[in-house]
Subunit: 345 residues, 4 copies
């Protein structure tokens, strides 16, 4: 049975793995100062149409987030995030670990808007309060939704008006690129810093962090946080493999297509999916009995939340590695569950 | 021409790479909660004869060091290190980044002794001074030397007497195991926490951190520092591949043997090697002209320091990946340099 | 005209000032290791019926709060606070500056209850979330309300059940002692650590921090945070002067009585006071025009919030130093405003 | 018997105390936004001939130091200090507590020179090392010595050349002003930030921190570190009282004169004073027996260090409060000790 638990259950996309195999005995300087990282950075600048962008390669998502926030904020400054934002609820206080407060805003769909940003009391506060200095958004969001270009432009304008950095966490940027109306140049143009997630879209590990402007001494900050990989070329190599052709996008398209198949199949069986997600995370609501039956069958997935005493919202995640057959099997097995459940009342 | 710059110039030992290939499409839970990490941890506990040891897998060396120090020390506590210690000079202030002072002690050979530890003024200080709470040593040291069992036992006794944790940074533990008189059980028995370095001895990346006693919530601290790898099983897999047979030791023996060949060859040509290193780092002193000639030939290595106006101490590092031929070529080419140099006066 | 802006507009209570004058040329050791601090600490232990309590004297409230939190929490741990809690909104991120997240809970009256504490998602969370380790309450609260003994007992039980420290910020403990049903022994018995505020009740400055159990090396932590006063005896002296007789309580009773007079007078004039405050902070709602008129007359006070387009909630604070006449004048002048306002519609 | 332990054994200079008494019932806004602080800041700008200087008032010395360093340095940057510097040895790791390394340089007289600054290896290092960004000096130094204008100018030039901030800790600036060749305008012109110490020269407490250029949001940083005094006017008041006339200088002249009297008297009795101190700290070397006898007589002072098995270097400190008679008594009693000691061999 398949695990829909997350998009990092497997190893690397075959093309990425092959690149690692092919170059295994190559000798390079360490710490990302190698030709592979240089080429991958050039490739990203070119794909972003951002010749001045400052590109760095990191191992993981929380690491990337804390470095972006920590590098740009002064000690008394804070970052605004949706309540559901990864930096707010899922990083064991990593942002606070760099000394900064996360100002969390309740948001119905995991997204921020100018109005939500401007609802933060500290934005209108005094020197006894933290100074908001950054807006954090993720795309896709933690609830599977995505920002349109118009929405991101509006946030950009809002940030400009209030002197805020705009940081976009692209741990799942592949999925957003594959289903949204923005390309890499949009992200580079509209944010001060954004990340391109590798871990959840084909890499063994790796996130590329793209600053709109050169960020002096960022490498020292990386090193100080224990975030500089000795064999840095592993990161460059993987991003090169993913981005030098359509691999990165194709991997995400595959994940999104299977997620849509799941969504449609689940909906056809009469189960609600309250979140309008076009991306590789789907959040159906099942009777608790169905959840139990699916688990007994061996399916793995995460619980999002209890909806009421009898229903649970679960999270189903697909990836580049998900076989079509796994989705078809799941839907078939789910339809079997349905009968049982309907007999219950 | 070969690079003797460091022991992380290449990728992974073939056996490690094969393990990654073989398991690439396996699905596992994330963040190190997978069967591979569990098995690797059990293997380490068994090899260490330390059934209660708490084993965690991390990506890099500086990360490992800052986590070990940060997890064990209270805010006002400090760690004692040799002046040349990695945590003191080569981590861009990562330890201070966790809020702790490094109390550096000059040491002739990169090693600490009870007398050196007791020479730290703060050990006899008052509440206006930091409180020494840990001794940091590395084995092999940054200068290639190693601790004997007797020396580590003496440090252990000293730490016990003064209420200090003993932390041994094993970024190059393989090399120490292959040339010293201690095995893993000695390290587990004599330290409060030590690391087993993968990055410099066959892994793509990875350090195992071994606490003598269970360390509650260490995983939360890892996560907060951005140090929890999403596809954690990559770490478990690699350590399993290295440690389930003699691979780890053999890799280090190979590196040490070639380093010894280098040492003997260099000495035979009349160049001094002031540091008595039995391990995979050698520090010969060459006339500056020889250094330039070797570089012109394409050899890469790091400069350790200028000895005097005409001489430079360089660092030559071997690894599991170094071909014997590279060493023979180097010595042959070095002997060619010699002639030129001797003509100089 | 009088300033009702806060309870630290003036200098010290005459008795405190006299103590400073009387002892000015006494020579004592520095840093709080003097007989004055020892006596004040003994006095507090005795008044608290807590012979083992660990008492420290600090200069200011934010300093006291960050030290209490920072001393008791591990890096990945968090403190639960009401949304309106001082540590959450009024300390420019001081708690986050020590690396800890504040988990804020909306509360209608500025107070926490077991149910509110248990509503914190992180209390039921996993290792990717911060670990709640402390409940922060203030008494009186930031909105002027107070905890009853029964309420604090319930919180104590809740903290015990969940393994949480209970920290009570007593920046305005005098006011709470003077109008509530708890004495110092209750605070000592029911909390893990609480503070006795001097700054807002008669001292030039100074907060006493009382740990239920000895807190080893807390003085080192104080020093490291820049919180150890050189002439520490100034703190001991002031607390001795305030607490060796009824001065501290009398000062608070005076403030509370005048606040009640304000409350009753304002209510008699028909203005609402939505918060049920028995303490020295009152929050009447005035038409904006009245606010403007009072300010024109020279009265100073803080704006709490805009209630609607035409009304503003203001904060009036009394202290040991507030003259009765100032309150009578204010009420008389307010009644003059009323007429004008009532003509408006 | 008198305590020569330090220059903060007593309370406040009578003029300072009187100012506190005179204004005790004045109502002012809190947190240093009052007319007293404004006037004191203007006074300092005027005395410094630095109309653009940014002046802040803080409570204590360690607090002042950590705020100056923390405000100016980026996370991976470090401060260079003499080995004996207060920030290096006497603040329980306060600088490291803000995340910064102190790069300590051995110095024979507690002073830094361009050559010593340039001897710091990290100044010539790479991104794996902290980046030196500030030079910390104190005047007078911890060993009683002072910088001449020429020496400070040379350091200023050195700092300019290497892109380093120059921070001068003036905890004992009064003593330096009273015996050196520099006035306040020199300090303002030659440093990026310096402090004017009140605690050790007539104030109850208080340090003025003077930035050469406006330092945006420094007040937020103060608040975040718990360093913003509620009744901030107490600080402004004291500096006004000290600096509006010659009080500050006279207090220091008195202390220096008595220290010189001590120095000459001690030397006349044949005891060495190896440090050439013109300031209010003197470091005579006495036979251990003399030290014991003085203590038996009731004199208090700190031990600086053991010189050899039979001799101890002690520290004698004078202040504005030291009576001439105390010095005469000490010298008389010391001469009595001498006889006993000379009989010993």
């Amino acid at each position: 049975m398949y695990s829909f638990r997350n998009d990092y259950s497997e190893g690397a996309h075959p093309k990425v793995l092959q690149a690692l195999i092919n170059t295994n005995l190559e000798q390079t300087p360490g710490y990302g100062l190698d030709p592979r990282c240089q080429k991958a950075a050039e490739l990203i600048r070119s794909l972003c149409a951002a010749p001045d962008a400052d590109v760095h390669f990191l191992v993981g998502g929380t690491q990337t987030n804390l470095l972006a926030v920590g590098a740009l904020l002064k000690p008394y400054e804070a970052v605004i995030s949706a309540q559901t934002g990864h930096v707010n609820v899922h990083e064991t206080g990593a942002i606070e670990g760099t000394g900064h407060k996360v100002l969390a805003v309740p948001s119905p769909d995991g997204k921020l808007t100018p109005a939500l940003v401007e609802s933060v009391p500290e934005l209108h506060g005094d020197e006894h309060q933290v100074k908001p200095a950054m807006v954090y958004v993720s795309n896709t969001t933690e609830t599977g939704t995505i920002y349109s270009r118009g929405e991101l432009q509006a946030l950009r304008a809002c940030c400009g008006k209030h002197g805020l950095f705009l940081f976009l966490d692209g741990a799942r940027l592949g999925s957003a690129l594959a289903c949204g109306d923005m390309g890499l140049p949009d992200y580079a143009a509209l944010t001060d810093v954004f990340s391109i997630g590798g871990t959840k879209n084909g890499a063994l590990f790796g996130e590329a962090l793209v600053f709109a402007k050169p960020r002096p001494d960022f490498r020292r900050y990386m090193k100080r946080q224990g975030a500089m990989l000795a064999k840095g070329r592993l990161l460059g190599l993987q991003f090169q493999a993913l981005l030098e052709d359509e691999t990165y996008l194709d991997a995400a398209r595959h994940a999104n297509a299977l997620a849509l198949r799941l969504r449609n199949g689940v909906a056809a069986l009469g189960y609600p999916l309250p979140v309008e997600s076009p991306s590789n995370q789907q959040f159906p609501v099942f009777p608790n009995q169905v959840v139990a039956q699916l688990r007994n069958m061996g399916y793995a997935f995460e619980i999002d939340r209890a909806v009421d005493a009898g229903h649970t919202c679960v999270r189903l995640v697909t990836s580049w590695a998900t076989p079509e057959q796994a989705v078809e099997d799941f839907l078939r097995d789910l339809s079997a569950c349905v009968d049982v459940t309907q007999e219950t009342p």
